[in-house]
Symmetry: C2
Subunit: 397 residues, 2 copies
C-alpha cells in the first residue's frame, strides 16, 4: 500500500464520478447502436475511459461493469483507475474469456492493420467501427475536463509572458522554442502533444520570424514554417530572429493529457505600421468568431460566415494563405491537439454546448511574413468562454 | 526557383545516391518476394525512401522508376526529394492511374484499419505486408546515416556536459528536463522522437532522482519513473532532485530524423559508495557487451550471454529490474527510437554488420534507486564503434 498512497500524493487522479459518467454515456451509445461490447485498445481512449494510461485493454459492455486488462503495470493501473474489475493480461488470448458476443465495437481509426488481424484471430465476431461514437463523446467536455484545460491555459500564459523576457535579436527560432519549452516544463507541461495520427504530428516549436512564417508545408496551415530539416519540415528553423519583424509563436501546452493551443505575435522593438494594421484586422476576425459562435450552428456555415468577414475587412487576398488557401479556422481540442469537430469549409456538423475549440485565424503577406492569433475556448449556451487568456496585444520587448 | 534555392541553403537534403541506393535495395527485395509494386504511406518510410517528409504517397515498382504523389506541399517535396517523377495528389482515386498490378505491397504495421479500407476501395488487388522487408532494410545503416547519427551524438554530448552546469538541488526532475531540452534545441535537436506506434511513446524527459527511478510503468524498462500525471505516467516528475542521490538522465536526441539514445548518471556532491560500486558493475556489463557483440550472433543468444554476466558480478537480483524483470538490454535505433531488431530474450534474429543499437543495461536497488548506462553504437565487421561518446563516469557536480 505504501507505493499506492505515495503515488496518490504525488499526482492527481481522474475522479471516480468522471470515469463512471464517461462509461455510462458510452454504454448508452453502444446500446443505441446495438453493439453489446466494445474493445478499447488505443491508449488515449483507454485513459479517457479508465483514468489510467498503462499498457492495457478496456472491455466496455453495454449492460454491465467494464473490465480492464493490464499487461503492464498492473499496480499502477489499479492505483490510477477507479475501474473495479482490473485483471492482469498475460496473453492476448485472455480476451476470449471476456468476450462471447458476436458483434464487437472497435476503434478503426486507431488500430493498425496488423493489430486488427491479431484481434480477429482471437475473437470470432463482426467488428464494427466505434471511432466516431467516441469522437463525439470526447467532443463534449465536462466541468472537470474544462478545469484541466484552464490549468493548461494558465501554464500557457506563464510561458508567453515569462518567455518574452528572454526574447532578443540573434536568437534562432529553434533557440527561442527551447527557452519556451524550458519554462513550460517547469510549470508541468507534459511535452507530448498527442494527435492520434501517424501523418499529423503536433509539436511545441511552431515559432517563426518574418519570411519563414510564409512557408507552406505538409500541415494544414498557411504559416507552416521551414523547420530544421526535410525530416521535420515544420515550424522553427535555424533562421535568426530580427528586430522589428513579426514573430509568430504557436506553442501547445499539455496538462494531465489535456491540451490547449494558442498563438501570439511578438516583436523586438516597434512593430511596423503595416503589420500592426493587419494584426488589428485579424484580431477583429477573432472577435467576430467569439461574438457569433453558438451551439446549434453548422461548422461549415460558420466557416463561410467568418470567411466573408475577410472581404469586408479587405484582407481576403491574404486571409488563410496567399497562393494556397487553407479552409479551416478552428479545430476541436482536448486529449488530441486537433480532434472532432473542425470548423472548416463544408464540414457539416453541429456545434454543441461544451465543445472546446482552438480558433486560429491566420494570414500571410507574401514574401514578407505570416501573422495570426489563436485561443482555446469552450462553447457555452449563449456565449464563448475563454480557456486561454494571454493579453491579445502584440507582445513587444 | 528563389524559394527552392533558399531552402537548399537553409537545411541539408538527403543525397541523391543515398535515396537511389535505398530504392534499389527495396526493389530487389520486392522482386524476390514477387511483389510487383508497393505503396508507401507511412511518413517515416516515405522520408526514408524519398528524402522528403511532406503529405505524400510513394509508389515503388519492382522494375521501374518510383512515383511520388504529393497532397501537400508539392514544391517542398520537389525541393527536398531527388525522386524525378513527382506529381500532385488531388484525390485518392489518382492512385488508380499508377497501379494496375494485382499484388500490392503495403505497410500493415503503420496503416490504420480505416486507411486500409480506403486504399482497398480504390485498388482491386491482393495486399501483402511489407513491414518486415522495410524494417530489415532500415536496420542496416549506410555511411551517410551513421554520419547523421554521429552528429546527433555530438549534440547529446553537449546536452549532457553543458546541462551539468545547471544541475542543482531543489530543481524538480521535470525542471531539469526542461533545462536539457533548451540546450538540445539550441543545437538543433528536432524534439519529436518517432516510434511508429500509438502504444509506445518516446520522450526526452526520462530523468529521475533516487526513489522515483525504481517505479515501473507501461514501458519495457526497469526504471520507468513516476511522470507528471496518470495521462503521462513515465519519466520525470515534480519530485525534487536531492544531493548525494543517484540521478538517472536518459535523453534521446534527433537530427534529420535520426535518433541516438544515451543514459548517464549524475550526482550533486559525492555519490554514495554503494551506488559507485553498483555503477562499476553495470559499466562492466556495458563493456562486456561492446567487447563481445559481433555480426553473426543471434540476438536472443547474446541477451542470454550478457544476462549470465550479472551472476558472476553478483548483481543478478537487481539486474534488469527487481520484482519485475525486463528481458531486453538493447534496441535497434534510427528513424525510430526503438526499431528492429531488439536484443532481447528469445529474439531469434541475426545481428548484422552496420546495424545500430542503443544498449542500456540498467538495474534497480529496491526502495532506493535505479541506475544504468546507455550508448548508441554501430556493429562493424570485427568490433563495435561508438556513436555517442559522453565520458562514462558518473557526472558529479
Amino acid at each position: 500500500m505504501g507505493k499506492k498512497l505515495l503515488l496518490k500524493h504525488r499526482y492527481n487522479l481522474v475522479p471516480e464520478f468522471e470515469i463512471y459518467n464517461r462509461i455510462k454515456n458510452f454504454q448508452k451509445k453502444l446500446s443505441e447502436s446495438n453493439i453489446p461490447v466494445a474493445i478499447i485498445y488505443y491508449p488515449v481512449n483507454c485513459y479517457y475511459f479508465t483514468g489510467a494510461n498503462q499498457d492495457e485493454i478496456l472491455i466496455v459492455y453495454a449492460d454491465r461493469e467494464p473490465v480492464l486488462l493490464v499487461k503492464r503495470d498492473l499496480e499502477r493501473a489499479k492505483n490510477d483507475s477507479p475501474i473495479t474489475q482490473i485483471f492482469p493480461l498475460k496473453s492476448f488470448s485472455d480476451l476470449k474469456k471476456f468476450i462471447n458476443e458476436k458483434r464487437v465495437g472497435f476503434e478503426f481509426d486507431y488500430i493498425t492493420l496488423n493489430e486488427y488481424k491479431k484481434f480477429q484471430s482471437i475473437i470470432e465476431a463482426e467488428f464494427v467501427d466505434i471511432t466516431q461514437i467516441i469522437n463525439e463523446l470526447r467532443s463534449i467536455k465536462s466541468k472537470y475536463e474544462i478545469s484541466l484545460m484552464k490549468h493548461a491555459g494558465e501554464i500557457a500564459k506563464k510561458v508567453y509572458l515569462e518567455g518574452a523576457n528572454y526574447l532578443k535579436k540573434g536568437l534562432t527560432e529553434i533557440e527561442f522554442a527551447g527557452i519556451l519549452e524550458k519554462i513550460a516544463r517547469k510549470y508541468g507541461h507534459e511535452g507530448i502533444l498527442r494527435t492520434g495520427s501517424f501523418r499529423f504530428e503536433s509539436y511545441t516549436s511552431h515559432i517563426m520570424c518574418g519570411y519563414t512564417s510564409t512557408f507552406t508545408t505538409k500541415t494544414a496551415t498557411p504559416t507552416g514554417g521551414m523547420g530544421l530539416s526535410p525530416a521535420f519540415p515544420c515550424g522553427a528553423s535555424f533562421n535568426e530572429i530580427k528586430e522589428n519583424k513579426p514573430i509568430l509563436v504557436d506553442f501547445g501546452i499539455c496538462f494531465m493529457g489535456y491540451q490547449v493551443d494558442e498563438t501570439r505575435m511578438f516583436s523586438i522593438g516597434e512593430p511596423e505600421e503595416e503589420f500592426v494594421n493587419y494584426y488589428k484586422k485579424i484580431l477583429k476576425i477573432q472577435h467576430e468568431i467569439f461574438e457569433n459562435l453558438k451551439p446549434g450552428i453548422i461548422a461549415g456555415d460558420f466557416f463561410d460566415f467568418i470567411y466573408e468577414k475577410s472581404y469586408s475587412l479587405g484582407i481576403e487576398k491574404y486571409f488563410l494563405g496567399f497562393n494556397k488557401k487553407f479552409n479551416f479556422i478552428g479545430h476541436g481540442i482536448g486529449l488530441h491537439t486537433s480532434e472532432f469537430p473542425v470548423i472548416a469549409k463544408n464540414f457539416n456538423y453541429l456545434i454543441k454546448e461544451n465543445m472546446t475549440f482552438a480558433f486560429e485565424p491566420k494570414m500571410v503577406i507574401p514574401e514578407k511574413y505570416g501573422l495570426g492569433i489563436e485561443d482555446t475556448v469552450v462553447v457555452r449556451k449563449d456565449r464563448v468562454e475563454r480557456i486561454t487568456s494571454i493579453p491579445e496585444e502584440i507582445i513587444c520587448v
